[in-house]
């Protein structure tokens, strides 16, 4: 540093400050921004919320739709879109698991932890990033759906309500995936385990086919499955064909309440658990 002036360092000792909401929000914003920069640098990471949803929407509607006859009538595209949204949002919430796990395997978390930042901002920032990619995913499914003839039969408020319900569920689920990322060894295993859990859960539901003719065990699972519940609620809100409405189990009969319960329940369990796991994983 031949030309460098002496670096000014404050030798004064700083007193601790109580944590303030504003600085916590700032830390969340900084973490979110960082994650978004990552995504922009490696746009291929985003393929599961861009290309894949569009592709799945087309494939499922034209291939499955060719064979499925809905009890109670209606077109398959009108039936399937809520289910496709559910599946795509569920699989995209795994981004949280992969992202967190990646961070934990580099030294960057240690750097964060030696700053006076609000530590849970690492988690909250990750979940906010995931929410933003979920919005993108939902938009792509919706545009594709509109292009191939999906039409909601409801007011604008109800349509937006349906999207909000899905995004809330996806957000809650991303905290669950966060926990998975925090206990897994690395991003690959996080993704692997996530897929093994979430993909069957998305299939054994009312997302793509009515549940009425499933084998008993699967039918019971499908009717309580939060993915079915949210899909059911959304079909009701959108005025789309909804064979599940005829099923007499509590979650199917009270889909709206049940989906809120599921979402807030998942949040109430997984958010504190994630904070706990994060603390445990990053001490010692």
């Amino acid at each position: 540093m031949t030309t460098a002036a002496p670096l000014p360092v404050a030798p004064r000792i700083r007193q601790p400050k109580p944590p303030r909401l504003r600085s916590q929000l700032r830390d969340v914003a900084v973490m979110t921004y960082r994650n978004l920069v990552h995504i922009r640098r490696e746009p291929l990471q985003l393929s599961d919320v861009t290309l894949q949803p569009a592709l799945f929407t087309l494939l499922f509607v034209y291939i499955l739709g060719a064979g499925v006859v809905l009890p109670g009538g209606g077109t398959y595209v009108d039936f399937a879109i809520a289910g496709l949204l559910a599946m795509n949002l569920v699989t995209s919430s795994m981004g949280t698991a992969v992202g967190l796990s990646t961070d934990l395997n580099t030294g960057v978390i240690d750097r964060f932890r030696t700053t006076p930042m609000w530590r849970p901002a690492v988690l909250v920032g990750r979940s906010v990033t995931d929410l933003l990619t979920s919005v993108m995913c939902a938009a792509i499914v919706t545009i594709t759906a509109l292009a191939i003839g999906w039409r909601p039969d409801a007011g604008i408020g109800a349509v937006l309500g349906g999207f909000a319900l899905f995004l809330l569920f996806a957000y809650a689920l991303s905290w669950g995936c966060g926990c998975l990322g925090l206990v897994s060894k690395g991003p690959e295993s996080a993704q692997g385990i996530g897929l093994v859990i979430l993909f069957p859960a998305a299939i054994v539901s009312n997302a793509f086919v009515p549940t009425q003719r499933m084998p008993t065990v699967m039918r019971v699972f499908a009717n309580w499955n939060p993915i079915s519940v949210v899909t059911d609620a959304c079909r009701q809100l959108w005025g789309n064909p909804n064979p599940s409405a005829a099923i007499q189990t509590w979650p199917m009969e009270h889909a709206l309440a049940a989906s809120l319960l599921w979402s807030f329940g998942l949040l109430a369990v997984f958010a504190p658990l994630a904070v706990h796991l994060f603390r445990r994983r990053t001490t010692n």
Binding site: M1, A4, A5, P6, L7, P8, V9, A10, P11, R12, I13, R14, Q15, P16, K17, P19, S23, R26, D27, V30, R34, V37, H38, R41, E42, T106, G107, V108, D110, R111, F112, R113, T114, T115, P116, M117, T282, T283, N284
Partner: protein, 330 residues
């Protein structure tokens, strides 16, 4: 803790399973000083540093940084420290500038100040040209400099550098040294770990040598060197002489080594005042003509190996009788 001590460590103990990383370590660093923490791999340097920077909890003992307890007042400690660690602790997928701004924001600087501070540091660390390149594309030397720069973002009064020059070329190394000296001149207190004895010799006001989780020496470089009390003598003659080795023998511990051409003689000697004069007189008395006499001071390397070897035996004996009482080995 006295006002003068910015880092104070007392009986610090840490185990990882069956491995004892720190077995009761104590030392302190006065304000404005550089302490070099030395030791072979696995000696406990990094563990000590991680405890002091609130990344790891000690099992026992106390550590205070800037007057705050690292366990009970960790948040206050974090407001007063800057850390440049060994591992990649910056974000590979961000640019150098984005990394600095991010750390600045997380340290509580407002956006505009964070940007200004990042620019300032990029300039001071000669990273302006690389500022907007991704960290992935940085060379080892640039990374180290950015790492050190990131630790200075909030102008903290206490700085921790974990092997700040490992893997650097001599030029980059000299730069980092200069930066560290500049920081201390401005009133910062620095703790650095290193495997390089010359680095400790060059920079540190005081050196603490760790081995197997214990402090085996604590003092200035000169004090540590004086401890072994040995030096190396090297004599070059004008021409080979049959009496030369015999004339040197009284001063040398062990054998006198003679080079093949018989002109150069070497040996270990006990250090004493006027040694060179005495040696030349003795050779002159034997009619040996001398071109050159060099008395090498023991290097810190010699000291280090003397200490770590000797202590290993002592520590093993202690462990054998189960005397791991955790008493500070200071």
């Amino acid at each position: 803790m006295s006002d003068e001590s910015m880092i104070e460590v007392e009986d610090l103990t840490k185990r990882f399973g069956a491995t004892v990383a720190l077995a009761g370590v104590s030392f302190s660093v006065p304000r404005g000083a550089i302490l070099g923490l030395l030791g072979p791999n696995g000696a406990g340097k990094t563990t000590a540093l991680r405890i002091l920077t609130t990344l790891t909890m000690p099992d026992r003992g106390k550590a205070r940084v800037a007057g705050f307890d690292v366990v009970h007042d960790a948040a206050a400690v974090r407001r007063n420290i800057g850390v440049a660690a060994q591992d990649a602790t910056l974000d590979e997928t961000l640019t150098g500038r984005q990394n600095l701004v991010m750390v600045a924001r997380l340290s509580g600087l407002a956006r505009v100040h964070a940007r200004g501070r990042a620019n300032e540091l990029l300039e001071q660390f000669e990273l302006v040209d690389a500022a907007d390149r991704l960290l992935k594309e940085y060379s080892g030397g640039m990374r180290r400099r950015l790492d050190v720069a990131a630790s200075l973002v909030a102008r903290p009064p206490v700085l921790f550098f974990d092997e700040p020059t490992t893997g650097l070329d001599p030029t980059s190394r000299a730069r980092v040294w200069q930066i560290i000296r500049g920081l201390v001149a401005d009133g910062a207190t620095v703790l650095l770990t290193t495997q390089y004895l010359d680095e400790a010799d060059e920079l540190a006001d005081r050196i603490v040598v760790l081995n197997h989780g214990r402090v085996i020496a604590d003092g200035t470089a000169a004090e540590l060197k004086a401890r072994t009390g040995e030096a190396r003598l090297e004599v070059t003659l004008s021409g080979p002489h049959p009496e030369a080795a015999a004339a040197l023998a009284p001063f040398v511990l062990g054998d006198v080594q003679v080079s093949q051409d018989g002109q150069r003689l070497r040996g270990r000697v006990r250090r004493e005042d006027g040694l060179a004069t005495t040696v030349v007189r003795a050779l002159d008395g034997a009619h040996v003509t001398v071109d050159d006499v060099i008395v090498h001071q023991a290097s810190l390397d010699d000291v280090f190996f003397a200490l770590t070897d000797g202590r290993r035996r002592a520590a093993d004996e202690l462990d054998e009788v189960g005397a791991d009482t955790g008493i500070a080995s200071r």
